[in-house]
């Protein structure tokens, strides 16, 4: 069966996209989970929708439009969250909505019909062009290289930011760099699961991996594998059942997440007896 599926060009691209995006997703998702910045990451992802609208308006590749937009969103959210005299969740929530609104307005004033808008919102891994694969690969390399270079600093600010600052680390700069890496990961994953569902695939594999891991690098490795497993299983299921790929991937991941937790809950209950 796999042989037949791989005979399709679009399926080959989809599988490669699933595997490549899992690398960034597992590594950066682990930071998102241990640092508890899921909401911030969701804010970055949704604000990036403005970038997609802008790309439609300018008639450029949406993926290249999202990069500057999501990076800017990451910087603004990072600075606002730490420095502004408003509650962090208010600042993020506001920017989240503004980004979406900008996107909607740009798409509205673009003449004609916005062709695959839906696929950017909810993902469509079956239509990933080869150009985007190269872009995803490039971003993967960049993300892995930066995480390798800054691993002890990122570990320190994730674990205890105050201690990192006392140790003389430039914590604000490192935090913004981490948010920038989250922004780039969002760009990678938009193709796979879309802006609306990015946050689920970013956090579920990492949250599951944490249960089985004694160190952060181990957690990242397990998260990458789980992410790849969910993406490929979701992709194959969506192909066989002819349903939306992004949503299927999220459902596979989400159901596994709840299944594992239900299982842990039941075994803990059995032990108590």
């Amino acid at each position: 069966m796999l042989h037949e599926i791989l005979a399709f060009d679009f399926m080959r691209n989809a599988l490669i996209a699933a595997l490549l995006s899992s690398i960034a997703c597992g590594i950066i998702g682990s930071y998102v989970v241990v640092k508890k910045i899921g909401f911030i990451s969701g804010g970055i992802a949704h604000t990036a929708f403005g970038g997609i609208g802008l790309s439609y308006y300018l008639g450029i590749n949406p993926l290249s439009g999202i990069i500057p937009f999501s990076l800017a969103a990451a910087m603004i959210i990072g600075v606002l969250g730490k420095k502004a005299h408003v509650a962090e969740d208010t600042a993020i929530g506001t920017l989240w909505a503004i980004g979406m609104a900008v996107g909607v307005i740009f798409i509205g004033i673009t003449p004609g019909y916005a062709p695959d808008l839906f696929s950017y919102l909810f993902g469509n891994i079956l239509t990933v062009p080869t150009f985007d694969l190269w872009m995803i690969l490039l971003l993967d390399v960049l993300i892995v290289a930066l995480v390798w270079l800054f691993n002890k600093e990122f570990l320190a600010i994730s674990f205890d930011e105050e201690y990192a600052e006392v140790s003389g680390l430039p914590t604000m700069g490192l935090y913004l760099l981490m948010l920038a890496l989250i922004a780039l990961t969002v760009v990678i994953m938009v193709r796979v699961v879309g802006i609306v569902m990015v946050i689920a695939l970013l956090t579920i594999p990492a949250a599951l991996a944490r249960t089985f891991s004694r160190s952060l690098p181990r957690m990242m490795l397990v998260a990458v594998l789980l992410s790849a497993l969910f993406s490929i299983a979701g992709l194959l299921l969506s192909f066989l059942l002819d349903i939306a790929s992004g949503a299927t991937i999220i459902l596979v991941a989400g159901l596994t997440f709840f299944g594992v937790h239900a299982w842990q809950w039941i075994t803990a209950l059995m032990k108590k007896r």
Binding site: A164, G168, R210, S213
Partner: protein, 227 residues
């Protein structure tokens, strides 16, 4: 003459409209073991944060190792209250203690054999030999407290700053952490200066050589020398 490690002169600061510290003046000399006491909400932790360089202040003068606070991280070991981080974080005792080497490393530099040896030594000093590979989520409160002390020691500090080391610890560990402090002082002789913040005046008075009392109601600063 002994070197002055911390000099704090007429330090005042307001937080959220209320005056937390008002004209605080004291000094810490090399080899001292200073206890800073005062009621809860009396600005003890804020004062510690000022000395660490992570809290700005309104007026007065503070110097640590002759420089403004925050300029000598490589000479300072900091033991925070253990409540402020996530116990489910996937990290082992060894890795956590290694973080104490951060002030001595530059960005991009990786931990080397020297760092690992310092971390090992610190874990032995704190009595953590059997717990090195343990994940922090599986430690008791007292054990975790000693891990934080070991992390601070791993950086070979000249000044150790401790924030409420006894708070929310079982009665048995309470003596143990102070015995560890006394043991450290004996081992490291006059080379380690310690400043400890606590609301437990009674207990720490048996250990410290000097006491600073932040009494907000009297706006007075009292001190005594222990011989």
């Amino acid at each position: 003459m002994k070197m002055q490690v911390i000099a704090c002169n007429q330090l005042s600061l307001e937080l959220g409209g209320s005056r937390v510290l008002d004209g605080v003046t004291f000094c810490v000399d090399e080899g001292d073991f200073v206890g800073i006491v005062g009621p809860n909400g009396g600005g003890k932790t804020t004062l510690l944060r000022v000395m660490l360089g992570i809290q700005t202040f309104d007026s007065g003068k503070v110097s640590v190792f002759g420089k403004p606070p925050g300029q000598s991280p490589e000479k300072i070991g900091y033991v925070p209250q253990r409540l402020f981080f996530d116990r489910s974080f996937p990290i082992s005792v060894r890795e956590l203690v290694l973080m104490g080497r951060l002030p001595k490393k530059s960005v991009f530099e990786r931990y080397n054999a020297v760092d690992r040896a310092c971390a090992d030594e610190a874990m032995h000093l704190a009595g953590l030999e059997t717990l090195m590979e343990r994940r922090i989520g599986n430690l008791s409160g007292g054990e975790l407290q000693r891990v934080l002390v070991a992390r601070a020691l791993a950086g070979k500090p000249e000044l150790l700053l401790l924030d409420e080391p006894t708070s929310s610890i079982d009665p048995e560990m309470k003596t143990t952490i102070y015995d560890l402090m006394a043991h450290l002082r004996a081992r490291l002789k006059g080379n380690l200066t310690m400043v400890l913040v606590s609301h437990d005046t009674e207990t720490i008075s048996h250990y410290v050589t000097k006491m600073v009392n932040l009494n907000v109601t009297l706006n007075l600063l009292q001190g005594f020398e222990n011989h």
